[in-house]
């Protein structure tokens, strides 16, 4: 077999390949040759083959069959073999492969080798891919090497120690004594790696940090080293463009930052040196600027005196005016970090920052945008907003969403007047409408509702906006909602702020219908439009027939959501016409809801809020929100995470009010959640006592005990008992635990318990403990029901039981009326 080709030739051959397919072919041929060579256990050429394999791996081809070969190379005595073997191990092996543990012994031997280069190889490999077991085994050796006098080994051992600490943080104390003398070295390599090690230790453990601050007097040592670096003359081995070892300087500055954070003494000790570095560093080259950047970051982060901070901000200001893009980018980034603390100082540079918005460079634009948002305040809002809106017009699409959200937030906080606010939002919607986030629509609607005096103006502007172009969905949604609500204002033409426009009812309906028909409208938008048309039936006078026609057409729409709405509205026209005006009244002023609060109940997407069934005059705002709060107490007020689905299912039901009682008088719930529960228990978290199968560990900490339990059902050998618990803090919630037992001689299998309650209640069924009721009363099925009873009406329940018994399927319906008064009063 001819000698395998050298790596160099392989690279040359691969480079001549003109297409990807040719390259793949060459590589596959070579892989096959390498594989047969491995099989022959050829020692002489193994290292050459592995080297080629590593190159092919780097190009992206699989190379896992070389892993064992790397191990063989590591075990060999030749240095060239070991070198390739360790390189291969670093590249091909990692913790996921079990093979890597075989290396531990080899590394251990090599760490004690007589040649420093072999020891160095072992340290590198351990520091690169050592797993936690390997690190635990070999940490002692590494620590020993950290104390040698050989600087070549010391620096490698320090980096290896960093990796060990990352993998096994408990071993940090082991390296502590070795660090005492590390900073006394002259060799910059050792100094640099020691600083890295100290940084890692300080970042990981606050105890270490405190220890280094007090006992070791680390700060004075670092200050001394930094001073030497700056003051010493030209030293050829460490010079980079006129500055002595800038990399070490940057590292030391970073460590000083960590040491000085939140600590007055350390910060004071480093004030002088920081000022010295800041003033003496040469800024004509990039190197100097890198050091200045790090200095500025350190000054801003520690408890420096105010003079120093002013110096730092001035440096950043100078950076901003520099022509070099890199420097400007870096300045913008650091200003962003400091704007929270030194707001006024940064404000001075506002105009420069705003100019950066017009820069061509994407990175700079992004930074400038973020910084502009941070700088907006009550005084400069008008000017800044003009610039930001101009930016929104002309920026790349990837920025538009962030910019729009930022503008909304800023406008919300600092708007000088409602009209300005609405104008700004309209401008954003028209320019960047499709990039606006989804939650902007409900927020905007809420804002409009709250500014009562602007309704006419708003609806007029929105109408004009969508007249020309109804492709931007958020804009159309908001416009449809407003037209639906305030259509009467639009028709009557009363607008104080602007020239009122003359619009007829037909024109308004035209535009809404075109939104409904248009291909560009998404399903949600169509829903908004349909609801708006419906609302107009009470606000418009001459076109009610047209509205009826539109609504009935959509009763057979393919889109289920639209169909449901149309059918409901149709029913409103036909059977419940007397209620229509009450149901479609103006929306009450919504309570201000924070963006991370409960939004699901109040901010429905244009759905008519369930007007309370008793004739309460508007505003009926508090009622729906308190219901929301009750529900959320139910869901959040105990220590179990219950199943959520019942919440949304009740929402559409209550929206129709009396309309959707297709099932008669009772709202059947619980069925979908309980049936799949035995099969798919995992996502429904069960309270611990259900898994034990029995006893009544109370769900609340503050239960009212003493509510008598009842037998809800007893027939054909099946008995179901209810036990009650109520919480003192939340009296509208009753928790019922049912226990089903079976006194016949055969088991009842596939037992499913379903319950239904009247509309004024809400029911939640948790999953049962099992689906088999064992015979002869040897065991029970337990299930928990939670009932929300805000109006404190008498509890009634209809239950449905299905099970298999004696080979046949049984089913029974029953009503439970004998609830004790204490369970619901």
């Amino acid at each position: 077999m001819p000698a395998p080709i050298r790596l160099r030739e392989l690279i040359r051959t691969i480079r001549t390949a003109r297409t990807q397919a040719e390259e793949r072919e060459m590589i596959q041929k070579e892989c096959a040759a390498i594989r047969s060579s491995f099989r022959e256990e050829d020692n002489t050429y193994r290292c050459r083959n592995v080297a080629k394999l590593l190159y092919m791996h780097m190009l992206g081809y699989p190379a896992h069959f070389g892993q064992l070969e790397c191990l063989k190379l590591i075990a060999s005595q030749k240095f060239t073999d070991k070198r390739i073997g360790y390189l291969g191990a670093m590249l091909l092996l990692d913790e996921r492969q079990d093979v890597h543990l075989l290396m531990t012994n080899c590394i251990k031997n090599d760490l004690n080798h007589s040649t420093q280069y072999v020891q160095g190889l072992a340290l590198c490999t351990l520091g690169c891919m050592g797993s936690s077991e390997m690190c635990r085994d070999l940490a002692g050796e590494v620590e020993k090497l950290l104390k040698t006098s050989n600087s070549y080994l010391r620096k490698k051992a320090a980096l290896c120690a960093v990796h060990v600490i990352r993998k096994v943080p408990e071993l940090m104390e082991m390296f502590l004594p070795a660090t005492k003398n590390l900073l006394n070295e002259k060799n910059h390599g050792v100094l640099h790696t020691s600083v890295v090690l100290l940084t890692e230790m300080c970042e990981r453990s606050p105890d270490m940090l405190a220890h280094f601050r007090k006992n070791e007097k680390l700060v004075p040592q670092l200050v001394r080293i930094l001073k030497n670096l700056i003051m010493s003359g030209y030293s050829p081995e460490h010079d980079v463009s006129g500055i002595s070892d800038p990399f070490l300087q940057v590292r030391i500055l970073r460590l000083l930052r960590i040491l000085g954070r939140n600590d007055d003494d350390s910060s004071e000790a480093m004030n002088d040196i920081l000022a010295q570095v800041a003033t003496n560093t040469e800024t004509s080259k990039n190197v100097g600027n890198a050091i200045l950047y790090e200095t500025v970051l350190t000054i801003m982060d520690i408890k420096s005196e105010s003079g120093l901070r002013v110096l730092a901000i001035n440096i950043l200001g100078r950076f901003l005016l520099n022509n070099d893009k890199n420097i400007r980018y870096v300045a913008l980034t650091s200003l962003l970090k400091t704007v929270q603390t030194d707001h006024n100082a940064v404000q001075r540079h506002r105009s420069t920052i705003v100019d950066c918005l017009k820069d061509l460079d994407v990175s700079i634009k992004r930074r400038a945008m973020e910084l502009s948002f941070a700088l907006v305040n009550g005084n400069n809002i008008r000017g800044m907003m003009k610039e930001l809106l101009y930016f929104l017009d002309s920026c790349e699409p990837e920025f538009k969403a962030d910019c729009a959200s930022g503008i909304f937030l800023a406008a919300e906080k600092y708007a000088p007047s409602k009209r300005w606010h609405i104008d700004t939002i309209m401008r954003v919607l028209t320019t960047a409408g499709s990039y606006v986030r989804d939650d902007a629509v409900p927020n905007l609607i809420q804002l409009i509702t709250n500014s009562v005096e602007m309704h006419a103006y708003t609806v007029q502007r929105l109408y004009k906006a969508i007249l020309g172009d109804y492709s931007q969905q958020p804009l159309v949604q908001v416009a449809a909602w407003c037209i639906g609500e305030y259509g009467d204002l639009l028709i009557s033409g009363q607008c104080e702020e602007e020239e009122p426009i003359q619009v007829t009812e037909d024109e308004v309906l035209d535009i809404l219908e075109s939104v409904l028909i248009s291909n560009m409208s998404v399903s949600v938008t169509r829903g908004y439009a349909l609801t708006a048309i419906m609302k107009l039936s009470t606000r418009f006078t001459c076109t009610v027939n047209r509205i009826k026609k539109v609504v009935s057409i959509y009763g057979s729409s393919i889109d289920v959501e639209l169909q449901q709405r149309a059918v409901e509205y149709n029913a409103l026209f036909k059977k419940y016409d007397h209620m229509r005006s009450a149901l479609l009244e103006r929306m009450p002023v919504m309570e201000k809801v924070t963006t991370n609060g409960p939004t699901e109940i109040v901010q429905t997407n244009g759905e008519t809020e369930p007007a309370p069934l008793e004739t309460k005059p508007p505003p009926s705002g508090p009622q729906p929100t308190s219901q929301a709060n009750d529900l959320l107490d139910l869901l959040g007020g105990n220590d179990i995470t219950p199943v959520i689905p019942t919440v949304p299912t009740s929402k559409p039901a209550s929206a129709g009010g009396e309309l959707l009682d297709l099932l008669g008088d009772i709202n059947l719930t619980g069925a979908p959640t309980s049936a799949p529960a035995p099969a798919s228990a995992p996502q429904i978290s069960q309270p611990p006592f259900l898994l034990d199968g029995l006893s009544s560990q109370p769900l609340f900490n503050d239960i009212t005990t003493g509510i008598p339990s009842i037998t809800a059902y007893s027939k054909n050998g099946l008995k179901i008992e209810f036990t009650f618990e109520r919480s003192n803090t939340n009296p509208s919630v009753t928790v019922i635990t049912i226990q089903a037992s079976n006194s016949t001689e055969l088991d009842m299998t596939d037992f499913v318990f379903q319950a239904a309650v009247p509309k004024t209640f809400q029911l939640q069924l948790l999953s049962p403990s099992s689906s088999v009721v064992p015979a002869f009363n040897t065991g029970t099925i337990t299930q928990v029901i939670k009932v929300l009873n805000p109006q404190k009406q008498q509890l009634r329940m209809r239950i449905k039981l299905t099970y298999n018994h004696k080979g046949s399927a049984m089913q029974d319906l029953a009503e439970v009326n004998n609830f004790p008064p204490q369970s619901w009063q």
Binding site: H57, M58, L59, G60, P62, D94, R96, P236, D239, V240, S241, G242, P246, F247, V250, R254, N286, V287, N289, A290, Y293, E294, L297, K325, N326, I327, R328, Y329, V330, T333, L360, D361, V362, S363, I364, R366
Partner: protein
């Protein structure tokens, strides 16, 4: 912390790659092509720092070769920029026969401190 170090040519062929955090082998090629695409699309007046997913890329172009370093947020970008050049000078010192380093050094002229 440096996440990866790449040397890629203008056609997108990887000349050298070293990853300091585990990345699946098929994801590597995708990463490399995307990185080189974002670097190639920038002109010489634009800054050398690009944001890519959750890394920051710092790149430097030497003739037909791009050296790209991917870092996370804690690094000083300008120091890394200097580090790339330091690396190139070390390679030049070590492998003095490589030809396009010569081109490079003629361009840099007298700015180096090598005597």
């Amino acid at each position: 912390m440096i996440k990866f170090f790449l040397m890629v040519n203008k056609q997108g062929q990887t000349r050298l790659s070293k990853y300091y955090e585990h990345v699946d082998i098929n994801k590597r090629t995708i990463l490399e092509t995307e990185v080189i695409k974002s670097c190639l699309s920038r002109s010489s007046e634009q800054c050398s720092f690009v944001e890519y997913k959750d890394f920051k890329l710092i790149y430097r172009q030497y003739a037909a070769l791009f050296i790209v370093v991917g870092v996370n947020d804690t690094e000083n970008e300008m120091a890394i920029y200097e580090f790339i050049h330091n690396f190139v000078e070390v390679l030049d010192e070590y492998f003095s026969r490589v030809t396009f380093w010569l081109i490079l050094y003629c361009e840099r002229g007298k700015n180096t401190s090598w005597g």
